[in-house]
């Protein structure tokens, strides 16, 4: 089939809390083509995890509410799908790898069972067959199948994340959403796990959304990049477009903040000021209070998304009659 595998448009998600309504995702849109890897980049609190959970249909509710949007996956709008149908997609055609392997595995169940139950849920397998396939998956992530009956506490952080990866890949999904899969790991382990994910992604020919705030990771594994700020995608494009020809002042700020090329894995420490509280987003462009090139219009109007050759940006500097070139 042609066309993108996943097309998200106009997605808005809020959390209704006692302190007020948190606008976590605000009319966000992006698309992902088959076999590709999209890097979803942004500071903590930008709404990356919420976006991922929306695709999975797992936004915690209460307090979360998906207010609007379409998430077209393989021709179906996931947001309109009944829960029963959604269960058939979750873990089967779309699966997710979570941030912290120390907490994302059930401590009282063997790792083998936690892999095989994903298989059992979606494929008509005998128990023995599910077990055999799960053991095979363990080997695929370089864990001896002999450790099938061990519990999560018997594994290191890196190995646990590999178990989670095995779980996510078990049903050979078309899409994997990896939510900061290496953030919680030691630096040396990060590289190994990333390498493994990259090679398995090729082997299984899946598409991937790689959520991270680590530009090093993006450069390593992604084909396309979407930069997120306060629940919106402010810039998107191919790896090259975004890395060498960043348009949005926020993206440019991010790259300026890479301390040193020598320092292999750099974490975003961007720009003066903090991400605005999603409880109380600024009017106009949410970035304007921190923007070095802020104009009058930025304070009042939300910029429209503009696209040239697949390089999209959401900034008044580039709109008709805006501040002009990005030089």
């Amino acid at each position: 089939m042609n066309g993108p595998l996943l097309e998200v448009s106009d997605l808005s998600v809020v959390y209704r809390t006692y302190e007020g309504t948190v606008a976590a995702v605000n009319g966000l849109g992006f698309s992902l083509h088959r076999g590709r890897t999209l890097g979803l980049v942004g500071e903590s609190g930008a709404g990356k995890t919420t976006t991922a959970l929306s695709i999975m249909g797992l936004v915690p509710s209460p307090p979360g509410v998906v207010e609007s949007g379409r998430i077209i996956f393989d021709g179906q709008d996931l947001l309109r799908l009944p829960e029963r149908e959604m269960k058939r997609i979750r873990g089967n055609r779309i699966s997710m790898i979570f941030q912290d392997p120390m907490t994302s595995l059930n401590p009282v169940l063997t790792v083998g069972l936690q892999i095989s139950e994903a298989l059992a849920a979606h494929q008509d397998l005998s128990e023995a067959e599910a077990e055999r396939r799960a053991a095979e998956m363990l080997e695929r992530v370089q864990i001896p199948a002999a450790r099938y009956r061990e519990y999560p506490h018997e594994f290191s952080g890196g190995m646990r994340q590999r178990v989670v990866i095995a779980m996510a890949l078990a049903c050979n999904p078309s899409l994997i959403i990896a939510d900061e899969p290496t953030t919680a790991l030691d630096v040396t382990i990060q590289a190994q796990v990333l390498e493994l994910m990259k090679s398995l992604k090729e082997e299984f020919a899946t598409s991937m959304i790689m959520i991270t705030h680590d530009l090093g990771v993006v450069g390593e594994v992604c084909d396309n990049v979407a930069v997120m700020y306060a629940g919106r995608i402010v810039e998107t494009g191919s790896l090259e477009q975004v890395f060498s020809d960043a348009l949005h002042p926020y993206t440019r700020g991010l790259f300026r903040c890479i301390p040193d090329i020598e320092e292999e894995l750099s974490v975003i420490r961007p720009i003066e000021g903090l991400m605005p509280e999603p409880l109380d987003l600024p009017s106009g462009c949410a970035f304007h209070p921190r923007c070095p090139r802020c104009m009058e219009i930025c304070r009042t109007r939300v910029p429209e998304a503009i696209e040239r050759d697949g390089h999209g940006v959401m900034c008044h500097l580039f709109s008709e009659g805006g501040g002009g070139d990005h030089a």
Partner: protein, 311 residues
């Protein structure tokens, strides 16, 4: 695991020794002379002195304790001063009633407390939650003798459907079971609720959901298995606690169990029965705690691993 079990079993010995010293001292230092009690008000001083000699009450305390301990190790807890029957026999006569009551009480506590706690957590912050919490709080704070009297008033007098004493049919056990189990039920309900609320927001539950497995499997396999760990611990602790409640319950409902045996023995200064009965109670609590620890390890592989490492 087996080695750990055996080691724990050995550890029961010092505990029982300690209990035996304490109970022996209390019984023998308490005022009141058993010989006097046994012979009644009409006895002469000489009769009393003779009986004391005969019972060995004139020997130094440590000699008496030594004799008691030596016999106890051979399974001989002496003879009742009242009935002259072996204490072990008296205990075994009474034990089945108490055991039945304790098991029923626990079953009631778990059978009601667990669903109540789960329901409260699933309906968090609704009136159902409030009602469950109210029942739990009431069950915990109302003294059980008062509950016993109120139940009797209600079901034996106003609506006479349950007998208030004796042990002739299952009907006799309904009220004692409730009285004995209600506090543990309350504790279990509260523990289940808080444990459930804690577990439900854990990352691994989200991971389980992300696999697309059924809600029922998420609940039973992923949530309940973790909820049960603290619940079993607290239930185990309260089992010993509720054995104390046996004394009150058996007295109020006139059930011929171990608790009543000991109370009666205390009233009539029947030393051997008091000592033997209390020692037997301690043994029961020890064994139950051991079983709970085993169950705990079976539920939580992390604990099991600690046991393995510690042997």
């Amino acid at each position: 695991m087996l080695r750990y079990f055996l080691r724990r079993l050995l550890l029961l010995i010092p505990v029982l020794l300690g209990v035996s010293v304490v109970i022996f001292s209390i019984v023998h230092l308490a005022p009141g002379d058993p010989a006097e009690v046994m012979l009644g008000p009409s006895a002469t001083q000489e009769d009393i002195a003779n009986l004391r000699e005969q019972l060995g009450l004139n020997r130094p305390l440590y000699v008496q304790y030594g004799a008691f301990l030596g016999n106890a190790l051979r399974g001989d807890l002496g003879r009742s001063m009242r009935s002259n029957a072996p204490v072990v026999e008296e205990i075994m006569d009474r034990f089945p009633a108490t055991l039945t009551l304790a098991v029923l009480g626990m079953a009631f506590a778990i059978g009601i407390g667990l669903p109540l706690g789960l329901l409260a957590a699933l309906k968090q912050n609704t009136w159902i939650d409030a009602l469950c919490s109210f029942v739990a709080l009431a069950g915990f704070s109302i003294p059980n003798f008062w509950i016993a009297l109120m139940l009797m008033l209600l079901f034996s007098i106003y609506i006479p459907i349950l007998p208030s004493s004796g042990i002739d049919s299952w009907k006799n056990l309904v009220m004692p079971t409730i009285v004995l189990g209600v506090q543990t039920m309350a504790v279990i309900a509260r523990m289940t609720r808080s444990s459930m609320l804690e577990v439900i927001r854990q990352d691994y539950v989200r991971t389980a959901r992300a696999k697309g497995i059924s809600d029922r499997l998420v609940l039973t396999r992923h949530i309940l298995s973790n909820v049960m760990i603290p619940v079993v611990t607290i239930a185990g602790l309260y089992f010993g606690h509720s054995l104390g409640g046996v004394v009150v319950t058996e007295t109020v409902f006139s059930i011929p169990g171990l608790g009543r045996l000991i109370v009666d023995a205390i009233r009539s200064h029947d030393y051997p029965v008091v000592q033997g009965g209390v020692l037997f109670f301690a043994l029961c609590v020890g064994v139950v705690n051991l079983l709970v620890d085993m169950l705990y390890a079976a539920l939580d592989p992390r604990i099991k691993a600690q046991y393995r490492a510690a042997r």
